[in-house]
Every structure is written in structure tokens, then in C-alpha cells.
């Protein structure tokens, strides 16, 4: 326990002095499949998404970011309607005055301009070689396109932008400069377990799929309270679909068809609001049911649901049963506790009770220290829903999932569950 504490304190020292937050981004092209994945670990829960339809010569774009950066919104990653994908990953160097030799200043956010104007990795490289991007002084950018190319651009020697292209059919970036990979003696001291895991997995695989990427993101994500995984996403360059997982919850996925979403016009939304905390509970995966009827059970905060049942995982011939959740009201316990706390403090001040004041101030100090950690909201909803189904056939394999439709009209799905029926 104490070793863990020392480790934790050392980690805090290192992290607070270097402000390096763990993220992982990768893309691979195997056969006809071309996918990119990203795990965004950070201490800000206010993740946002922006939809910009194409207009006046600019490509449509979908951007992930955070709102509370003094800039109202800061782009961290995204994809455009041409299938150009990017993500920023923080690195250890802190050079806010970085200015790449031979580049000119650009007053806006260069990554946004890249999505506005570029369709390929080559065009993105040309843009970063023309304009200065100060962000390169503290992070590197991973860019991939629908043609199976990718590149990592980062601070290079003598204030240049180092362009490190994919070597093979995949590329990975985490939180060390990819230039170190060419120097084994240097890489030995920055080697990243997340990088090693992704590199090994993609090197050993003959096929890539959303499921494989989901498994990778599960392994490299962070379920703790220090820089937790705020969101994970997988982009399929062939279908134009983005699979998004919120707060390290891989039980629920939001699938966005980028073209369809961009066609709906400009929108600026909180990412967590697009999720319903839906989770399939019963029948559990691989369960055996000994009756023609079963009571499906799930949890979630959505308004409307669809129960999908089929005999294959693709749900090619599904039975879809609609369900609407009863309305619930939640009590605001947070405000009540805050009120009691303020009253307690006031009484302490008026009556000059040192013990009471010390207690209140200690709690306030501890609450302040809590900023070091991020209290990730639970991924489990308290709302339980059930629906009966009476037409199961004996000796069959069934797949089921729940599609949740939330108040903003976004649909999320549970992971697919399988169960078999006995011969009754």
C-alpha cells in the first residue's frame, strides 16, 4: 500500500512538473480494412463535439475537444468528410514559443484549417510545412487518410517539424516523440507499455476490425481517477462511421455516420450528453435459457429503447421491440449538502468555534486537493428496464442488444449479447 503511495506521489510529481497526459492513437490498413483508433485521457470531463457542414470551399468536419480552455473550445482531434483523421497527443517537451524554421504564422487553429482544406496526408504535411503550429512545441499530431497513409508530425531537431511517415501497414503514437523509436538507447528510457501493446497487437494480426480496435482501446485506456479516459473512438475510413465510447465504458457505443450527421447542420454538443449509460444485463452473455419466454433486462437513462433480437450478430433479420421508459424525477442532494455546509461554516464564524472552523476548512482543503483527481461519473445507470419475449425457439442461438434513443435524438447501443435455448 505504501509503495503504491510512493509511486502515486512520484507520479504526481512527474506529472505535475511535466504535464504529460496519456493518450494513444493508431491506424492500420489490412486488406480492404482501414481503421484509426484513439484513446483520449485527460482530467477535464467537459468533452465536446462540433459538427461543421461543408461550406464555401471548406470540407465538412467533425471535431472532438474540450470547452474549458479559456478559448471556449480547443480542438483535440477530428475527421473531415474527405476521410482525413487526426488527433493530438501531448509529449514531454514544453516549448510554447516553438516556431518551425521557414514557416509563417497562422492566426487560427492549424488543425482546423487542415480539416477545412486537406483530404490527404500529403496535403496535411504540406500545410504544416508552410504554417507554424505552436502546439508542436508540446505535443505531436497523428494524421491518417482514407488511402491508407498516416504520419506523425512533431518537434524535430533545430526547430523543424519532423515528419515521420508510416513504415509498414500501421503506425502508433503515444506520449513520447516518435523520433526516439529510431534510437534504441533513447527509446529504452521512454518506452511506453501502451505503445508496446498496440505495436505488438497490430504487428501480429492478419485482420483488423472494430472489435479488435475496441479491445486495444480497452487495454490502453485508463479507468482510474488520474487522467482517466474521457473518450475512445474508432474511425472506419471505408464506411465513414465513427464509433465512440464515453468514459472508458465499452458496454455502450455511439455510432455516427459522419456524412449523415454533417448534413444535419452545425451543432456544438457535450459528448457525455449523447450517451444513455445503457447496459445489457440479462440474459447474460453465453447464458442458456430453458423456456420459450425470457425477460430481457437492461439499465439506462434514455427515454426510448429498442430491443433487437436476431439469430446472427449482424442482426440481418431482427425482431425489434420498442419500449418507452417511465418518467423519473431526481432529487438535487448536492445543493442540499452545500446549503448545510455553508450554514455550518456561518455558525462556526459567528460563534467563533475553532474546532468547527478547522473541520470545515479541512474539508474545503481536501475538496481543493481533489482537483488533482478527476471524479469520472459512473457508467452504470440506476434505472432498470425489463421486457418480456415469449417466442423463443428451442435449440437456437440468439443475439440481442439494446438501442437507446436519448433526448437529443442520438442512438447508442449495448455490446451484442448471445444466449442459447435448450430443447426445453
Amino acid at each position: 500500500m505504501k509503495i503504491k503511495l510512493i509511486f502515486c506521489l512520484l507520479s504526481i510529481c512527474i506529472v505535475t512538473t511535466s504535464e504529460c497526459y496519456p493518450c494513444s492513437t493508431f491506424s492500420a490498413t489490412v486488406g480492404n480494412s482501414n481503421l484509426a483508433g484513439n484513446s483520449e485521457d485527460w482530467n477535464d470531463l467537459n468533452s465536446m463535439v462540433k459538427f461543421f457542414p461543408s461550406q464555401s470551399g471548406r470540407f465538412g468536419k467533425f471535431i472532438f475537444g474540450f470547452e474549458d480552455w479559456g478559448l471556449s473550445f480547443c480542438s483535440w482531434g477530428g475527421v473531415n468528410d474527405q476521410g482525413l483523421f487526426y488527433d493530438w497527443l501531448s509529449t514531454t517537451q514544453r516549448n510554447p514559443d516553438f516556431h518551425a524554421t521557414g514557416t509563417i504564422n497562422y492566426s487560427g487553429i492549424l488543425a482546423d484549417k487542415m480539416l477545412d482544406e486537406c483530404a490527404t496526408v500529403d496535403e496535411a504535411i504540406a500545410l504544416f510545412q508552410r504554417y507554424n503550429c505552436p502546439g508542436i512545441g508540446g505535443a505531436h499530431i497523428f494524421v491518417a487518410d482514407r488511402f491508407g497513409n498516416s504520419v506523425v508530425m512533431e518537434e524535430g531537431e533545430n526547430n523543424t517539424v519532423a515528419v515521420i511517415r508510416r513504415n509498414g501497414n500501421y503506425q502508433v503514437a503515444t506520449n513520447f516523440l516518435n523520433a526516439y523509436l529510431s534510437d534504441p538507447e533513447m527509446y529504452r528510457w521512454v518506452q511506453c507499455p501502451r505503445y508496446e501493446y498496440i505495436d505488438q497487437t497490430l504487428r501480429d494480426t492478419d485482420t483488423i476490425s472494430v472489435e479488435l480496435y475496441k479491445s486495444i482501446l480497452y487495454h490502453v485506456g485508463n479507468n482510474g481517477n488520474m487522467s482517466p479516459t474521457i473518450y475512445s473512438n474508432i474511425y472506419d475510413f471505408n464506411t465513414g462511421k465513427m464509433y465512440i465510447y464515453n468514459y472508458y465504458n465499452f458496454e455502450e457505443v455511439l455510432v455516427l455516420d459522419i456524412d449523415t450527421e454533417l448534413a444535419k447542420g452545425f451543432r456544438f454538443l457535450k459528448l457525455p450528453d449523447l450517451f444513455s449509460k445503457v447496459k445489457a444485463e440479462y440474459p447474460e452473455n453465453q447464458a442458456v435459457i430453458n423456456s420459450p419466454s425470457v425477460e430481457f433486462r437492461w439499465t439506462g437513462d434514455a427515454i426510448d429503447y429498442e430491443l433487437w433480437i436476431a439469430e446472427d450478430e449482424q442482426f440481418s433479420n431482427p425482431v425489434i421491440i420498442s419500449y418507452s421508459a417511465p418518467e423519473m424525477q431526481e432529487a438535487d442532494f448536492g445543493s442540499v449538502i452545500s446549503l448545510i455546509f455553508v450554514l455550518f461554516l456561518l455558525v462556526g464564524v459567528i460563534k467563533n468555534r475553532k474546532l468547527q472552523l478547522t473541520f470545515v476548512l479541512t474539508v474545503m482543503l481536501l475538496a481543493g486537493c481533489e482537483d488533482l483527481f478527476t471524479n469520472v461519473p459512473g457508467s452504470q445507470s440506476g434505472m432498470v428496464h425489463v421486457k418480456n419475449f415469449d417466442n423463443l425457439e428451442a435449440g437456437k442461438v440468439y443475439c440481442w442488444k439494446i438501442v437507446a434513443i436519448n433526448a437529443k435524438g442520438f442512438q447508442t447501443e449495448t455490446s451484442v449479447q448471445r444466449f442459447t435455448t435448450s430443447n426445453f
Partner: protein
């Protein structure tokens, strides 16, 4: 950690029981500045990294001029690897440092007693960590040579000590020729007479 503390207090207790009259115990705290030495130094250059030295003192006088000195202390070592454009990558190690040194006192019997010491050190690696996480391929045990100079003012000790690692601590596939080099500035307080 429990083992470390148990060993520390056991040593202090044993030492104290061993000779109530001659053996002295105490506490020491200090500042370390450490880096790597060796032929396989990573990056363009290495910069020292600051660290903490914290533990106990065991002092056994043999006569007025000579004594044996040991510590059981937690010691933070490491380095900052400079790659290019002054980019720095920190590497940190926590060791349980147990030096054993012969000390020669100059001007014995005076209020201010300068001294010099020389000996060896046995170190146990407790934790090795970089920005990407812990390293699991660092040698558990390290041996080194220690030398130092200091002054004694009654029960207070002020000392400058240099620790030269003799073990190649890298246990990765590269088996790099790397050793620790640590300069410490220590403040000690002895108990008893």
C-alpha cells in the same frame, strides 16, 4: 515498505542495544543530485536530477580518530535525458541505500570536528519510473563506492558525499553500460552522547 521500515528500526535497535555507551544513532536528510555514467548514455547529454535522501545514521566510534558509519536511507536517483532542442526526459529510481564507511576525524575533541570517510554501499532498488510508467528491467541490487567529507558540530553533521555506482543497472535487452553517479548534501542529527 514495511520491510524497509522494519529493517531500519531493527538495525537502529540492534545497534543501540549492542553498545549503549559507544554506538550512536541518528537521522539524516539531504539533497541528491544524480545522473548516469557509462558508455551507453542515452540522448545528446544528461543533466543531473534533484532528489531526496532520508533515513537513519549508525555511528560506531573505534577510537577518537576513527569510526565506522552506516546509513539506512531512502535515496532518489536518476537523470534528465536531453535529446535535442533542450527537450528533457526524466528517469527516476528510488533505492534503499546502505553504505558502510570508515570515518577519520580530524581535530578530535574540538567543538567543530572535520572528517572524511570512505567505503562501499549496498543499494536495493525499490522503484524505477519514467514518464511512460515504471521500468521492470532494472537490476534489483546495486553496489557502489562512497566517499565524503563533512563537519561535526556537537550532535549535528553537515556532509557532502559522493556515491559511484559500480553495477550496470540496465537489465533490458540492450544491457547498456550505465551506472549511477550521485552527489549528496546531507544534514544529520545524532542521538545520545
Amino acid at each position: 515498505m514495511k520491510i524497509t521500515l522494519t529493517v531500519f528500526f531493527l538495525l537502529l535497535y540492534t545497534a543501540d542495544s549492542f553498545s549503549q555507551s559507544r554506538l550512536q544513532t541518528g537521522l539524516t536528510i539531504g539533497y541528491n543530485s544524480s545522473t548516469f555514467l557509462g558508455d551507453d548514455k542515452p540522448g545528446e547529454k544528461l543533466d543531473p536530477i534533484p532528489g531526496l535522501y532520508l533515513g537513519g545514521i549508525i555511528h560506531y566510534p573505534l577510537n577518537e580518530r576513527f569510526s565506522l558509519v552506516s546509513n539506512v536511507a531512502l535515496c532518489l536517483r536518476g537523470t534528465k535525458i536531453n535529446t535535442f532542442n533542450e527537450i528533457s526526459e526524466p528517469v527516476l529510481f528510488v533505492y534503499l541505500d546502505i553504505p558502510l564507511m570508515a570515518r577519520m576525524n580530524f581535530l578530535p575533541g574540538r567543538i567543530i570536528t572535520p572528517y572524511a570517510e570512505l567505503g562501499g554501499a549496498f543499494d536495493v532498488n525499490i522503484l524505477s519510473i519514467g514518464l511512460s510508467g515504471p521500468y521492470y528491467d532494472v537490476r534489483k541490487f546495486d553496489f557502489g563506492m562512497v566517499s565524503g567529507v563533512g563537519i561535526r558540530l556537537g550532535k549535528i553533521l553537515l556532509e557532502m558525499r559522493y556515491h559511484l555506482g559500480l553495477t550496470h543497472f540496465d537489465r533490458s535487452e540492450l544491457e547498456s553500460d550505465l551506472r549511477h553517479s550521485t552527489l549528496s548534501f546531507l544534514l544529520g542529527l545524532t542521538f545520545g552522547k
